[in-house]
């Protein structure tokens, strides 16, 4: 009697999990666990309750589960519509969006939504669809079309302004274009130019960060972010405060960390946004380098698994989509950790599966769902 009940539960449980990639699932479970543990400590003295985090995780899982059941073919068919709706919403934001904290990012359609978030998925979908469409007959000018598809929403997001999301959407699209075969002779000059530019900025940081120098194409606050990165102590109580304090948190954590709930930087409110964008500082302070290496290993495993799934995907659309989504996970993690540890300028990019935030978790769940779906449907398409 009892045994059969257990079996019944087990059966239901297994049927829910069936078709989900076990490796990817375990990695995500590991990340979500770390995220939840860190959240409990980081959310001290914030208005957020742990039920909220549980709800978000559950929602993220639900989204992932649902998406994993959707055949990639369906996504491919609807890709254009999703993209068009996304761009339309962005245009709507630009016209009658809500302004909060000086940025026009939100739209009230009964509930308040942030359409740029949708673009993180819609962009790789659309571009993957396009290159799938042009497969075999691809011409050089296709990259021009791709650039337009990429450019319009990125420009719309960037002028909200929302540099972090624009960057992620841009990266998502760029990954698709590069993976679709963008010639190296076009990529390498930009890589070279970028490296050269960074070196120049580091060398001439003092000169170009002088007060009276205005940078072309860049807002003053954006210039500030780069400048405070080069020398956080130039403005210890202002713009540089976040970076300095998060670096102190990470550095003072040492190898083993101060222990769960023992982070003084976090608990005495020296870390800004400690449960959202800067949650990595809290984690680092309490779990040290050891914890960080485990976290990095998990992210690395996530990326390897995602790329492996993409590599064995049945067609160009799924391959491009899967690899792009995976590399977006990478971009999230790299940019966030880089920014919190003072390597990159401060942009609003959360740490995937660790930072608190419903929207991001839903998007991430969607992305993970796509990977699950590609894995689940790999043979169905092929055969």
């Amino acid at each position: 009697m009892e045994k059969s009940a257990i079996n019944k539960v087990k059966k239901i449980f297994l049927s829910i999990l069936s078709g989900l990639d076990r490796q990817l699932g375990l990695i995500l479970l590991g990340l979500a666990t770390i995220g939840f543990i860190t959240f409990l400590s980081a959310s001290q003295n914030t208005p957020v309750r742990f039920e909220d985090e549980l709800r978000n995780l559950a929602l993220s899982f639900a989204v992932m589960w649902v998406v994993s059941r959707i055949p990639p073919k369906w996504l491919e068919t609807e890709a254009v519509w999703i993209y068009v709706v996304g761009v339309a919403l962005l245009v709507a934001v630009a016209i009658f969006g809500l302004i909060k904290k000086g940025a026009r990012r939100w739209l009230n359609i009964g509930v308040v939504i942030q359409p740029s978030e949708l673009m993180k998925i819609a962009m790789p979908l659309m571009l993957a669809w396009y290159f799938q469409k042009r497969e075999g007959i691809q011409k050089t000018w296709d990259y021009g079309v791709a650039a337009i598809i990429l450019g319009i929403p990125v420009a719309l997001i960037a002028r909200q302004p929302d540099l972090g999301t624009a960057l992620l959407v841009f990266a998502a699209g760029l990954y698709v274009i590069i993976l679709a075969g963008l010639p190296w002779k076009w990529i390498l000059p930009f890589v070279g130019l970028g490296i050269f530019g960074i070196i120049l900025i580091i060398i001439f940081g003092d000169t170009i960060c002088a007060h009276n120098i205005a940078w072309p194409f860049v807002h003053n606050y954006q210039k500030h972010r780069v400048c405070t990165l080069l020398d956080p102590s130039s403005d210890p109580l202002g713009k540089g405060f976040h970076t300095i304090q998060s670096m102190i948190a990470i550095g003072s954590g040492g190898f083993f960390g101060k222990g769960w709930f023992q982070g003084t930087q976090a608990h005495l409110e020296f870390i800004p946004e400690k449960h959202t964008d800067f949650v990595f500082a809290v984690f680092s302070e309490e779990f040290g380098l050891l914890g960080n290496l485990i976290l990095l290993a998990l992210f690395f495993a996530l990326i390897k698994r995602g790329l492996a799934i993409s590599a064995s995907a049945p067609n160009l659309f799924t391959r491009l989509l899967g690899a792009s989504v995976t590399l977006i996970f990478f971009t999230y993690a790299f940019v966030n950790i880089g920014m919190v540890s003072g390597l990159l300028p401060v942009v609003g990019v959360p740490l995937p599966f660790i930072s608190y935030g419903g929207t991001a978790l839903v998007t991430l769940g969607f992305g993970a769902g796509i990977l699950m779906s590609i894995h689940r449907h790999r043979r169905l398409v092929q055969s």
């Binding site: 102190i248 003084t264 005495l268 993409s310 690899a323």
Partner: protein, 635 residues
């Protein structure tokens, strides 16, 4: 069925491999960065994290009391309720908050200004008093409305108070809020003391020092009075809010200082001066205890404690009466005829004169082509040493000065302390001028000015010319003579008192040095000075004393009258002569000496001597003059 071409897949695989390499490199970069922060620089960031979270909250020490020689407290502390605002907890406009508070509690423009200045100085972190000395009614009104004002609270604080207000203001001085310059100076003191004592930083916690002695004894005994502020080591949030106390170190109260000054005598003399300007120093010759140290006019030191308001400051600072000027300490005056007893003693010691040796005084003395005049028209006739002092004969001293020469006078007067720093326990003492040929050479620039002219020697004999001394020096010299050449360093503080045990540690030094003098010579001079008060210039003033007092009057010219006759009433007040007087009493064993000046008052006998007489009457016999209001102990 398979719809892709082989080269495409190869190229895709290749790019996936590159992507894996790229992400690996990026993650290695992050790992290196974290290794750098968490292992290589772990120590540095640990220190930073600790200094972030731990704040030292100062606990001010009670400042030591100022007590006069008879136990009367003249500088003390009182505890009062203040209205404090915690800057971080105030949301919104501070001005609006103050406006609202001022509806239930009286807040002056000065209160508001001081508060905002403190707020700006501190970069808006911490708690600052808006109003002090709240009345009971105000406290009650605030408590009833407290809920309306988060971040505003009532606290007890300690304040400095000088209960007798203007009395003895120049010697007491005052404390004031620590300025940036004070801080730098104290920091330097700590740095220098750290070399000797590695724990020095622990014992002098700067942020706990909010007030510092600015002038007077409050300044010169700052380190004794201040005590050692304690501190609570508190864990704080980024906003500066204390979370819990980790450890605390109690403050050590400052020590009391016991003055040598008799505050009643001080009060009497200040009252006797009335509206006259001047300086008055009384010393107990045997010990060097300063019994009274008067500078008139004076000021109210209480005005300075909590930031003086600009109008009062302007008034004090710009007044032609110069009430902030410490006259006995800094003011230099020609000693005039009060110099004569010292000159006479010099004549005996250097054997330039004997007591009975006489001169004939025609009323003037010609030297070169210049005529030096005597006060008395027609002269004093035949004058011996005693008569020269009793009648204050100038001609006697013109010839004496000529016979001694400037350097001999200088060498004799120097050990008495003329033109020398006495070493009194106040800062800012003037040195004055005791002329010599060397002094002139060092002081002037042009060669013709550097030369000493014989004519310049003559007027030195009557305490004029280049002679310029402080009243403190004059009193000190008088004490040295009265003490038969044993020099005691003058001081205002005689003991340091432990605030708990009341044990006193004497600070008074032993004798500094001894001037080798022939006792008979001193007796001759003292006898002559006693005679001054019997048949001399101040005889009428000293009629009927129950003790014997020696004295000498003096009149110091403020500017040269070019041998025109001087009429007291017709000269502008600030150009009138200064009236001087020196005294010692009682004759057999002096317990008090006095040197004093009444500025622009005219003749010494008329204006200075009566004050000295009443001061001596009180000090030696306890007689209080009828015209002066009774001394009242402050509540």
């Amino acid at each position: 069925m398979v719809s892709f071409k082989k080269p495409d897949l190869d190229s895709f695989q290749e790019r996936i491999t590159i992507a894996i390499v790229f992400t690996t490199v990026c993650f290695l970069l992050l790992a290196t960065r974290l290794l750098w922060l968490q292992v290589v620089n772990h120590g540095k960031y640990s220190v930073l994290a600790d200094s972030n979270r731990i704040a030292l909250i100062p606990v001010p020490a009670n400042r030591g009391l100022l007590i006069d020689r008879n136990g009367i407290v003249i500088g003390r502390n009182y505890s009062a309720l203040t209205l404090d605002i915690n800057a971080e907890e105030v949301s919104g406009n501070v001005d609006e908050l103050i406006d609202e508070l001022s509806q239930i509690i009286l807040i002056s423009a000065k209160d508001r200004r001081n508060f905002k200045r403190a707020l700006d100085d501190s970069r808006k972190m911490g708690t600052f008093p808006l109003r002090s000395m709240l009345t009971e009614a105000e406290t009650a009104r605030f408590m009833a409305n407290r809920y309306r004002f988060p971040g505003v609270e009532i606290r007890a604080r300690s304040f400095r108070e000088y209960p007798y207000n203007e009395l003895a203001s120049h010697l007491i001085g005052y404390i004031g809020r620590v300025s940036q310059r004070d801080k730098e100076r104290m920091q330097a003191e700590i740095e220098s003391s750290k070399a000797d004592d590695p724990d020095a930083l622990q014992t002098s916690f700067l942020p706990g020092i909010q007030y510092v002695g600015k002038i007077g004894l409050e300044q010169s005994y700052e380190t004794v009075l201040r005590g050692v502020p304690g501190y609570d080591q508190v864990e704080i949030t980024a906003g500066g809010k204390p979370v819990r106390t980790l450890s605390s170190s109690p403050s050590v109260p400052g020590k009391n200082i016991v003055l040598s000054v008799d505050i009643k005598l001080q009060y009497l003399v200040e009252q006797l001066y009335g509206n006259f300007r001047g300086a008055f120093v009384a010393i107990e010759p045997e010990t060097g205890d300063i019994l009274a140290f008067v500078s008139k006019p004076n000021f109210n030191p209480n005005d300075f404690v909590e930031d003086i308001d600009p109008t009062t400051w302007k008034e004090l600072n710009e007044s032609p009466q110069k009430p902030l000027y410490n006259r006995p300490l800094k003011g230099i005056y020609p000693p005039g005829s009060t110099y004569k007893p010292f000159m006479a003693l010099a004549a005996l010691e250097t054997k330039k004169r004997t007591p009975s040796q006489t001169i004939s005084d025609p009323g003037y003395f010609d030297f070169g082509n210049h005529t030096f005049r005597d006060d008395k028209k027609g002269g004093h006739g035949i004058v011996d040493m005693q008569k020269s002092i009793v009648d204050s004969c100038d001609t006697y001293y013109y010839t004496l000065a000529r016979d001694m020469g400037v350097n001999m006078m200088h060498d004799f007067m120097k050990p008495f302390g003329f033109g020398q720093i006495t070493g009194i326990d106040l800062l800012g003492e003037s040195k004055g001028v005791l002329p010599s040929t060397e002094w002139k050479k060092n002081t002037f620039k042009k060669p013709e000015q550097q030369r000493w002219y014989e004519g310049e020697t003559i007027s030195l004999g009557i305490g004029q010319g280049y002679n310029a001394f402080t009243i403190l020096q004059l009193a000190h010299a008088m004490a040295n003579m009265a003490n038969n050449g044993i020099v005691m360093k003058p001081h205002l503080v005689k003991a340091i008192e432990d605030p708990f045990t009341r044990n006193r540690t004497l600070t008074t030094p032993k004798e500094s040095y001894r001037i080798d003098l022939v006792p008979e010579n001193i007796e001759t001079i003292k006898k002559a000075m006693l005679e001054v008060n019997v048949s001399g210039t101040s005889a009428s003033v000293f009629k009927g004393t129950g003790y014997q007092a020696g004295g000498k009057t003096g009149t110091a010219q403020v500017f040269s009258l070019n041998s025109k006759e001087y009429h007291h009433g017709s000269t502008a007040e600030f150009l009138r002569d200064h009236a001087l007087y020196i005294a010692f009493a009682p004759a057999e064993k002096p317990t008090i000496v006095i040197a004093m000046v009444v500025e622009n008052a005219g003749f010494g006998a008329q204006h200075a001597a009566p004050i000295a007489r009443k001061a001596l009457d009180f000090y030696l016999e306890g007689k209080w003059p009828k015209e002066i209001p009774e001394w009242k102990r402050a509540p």
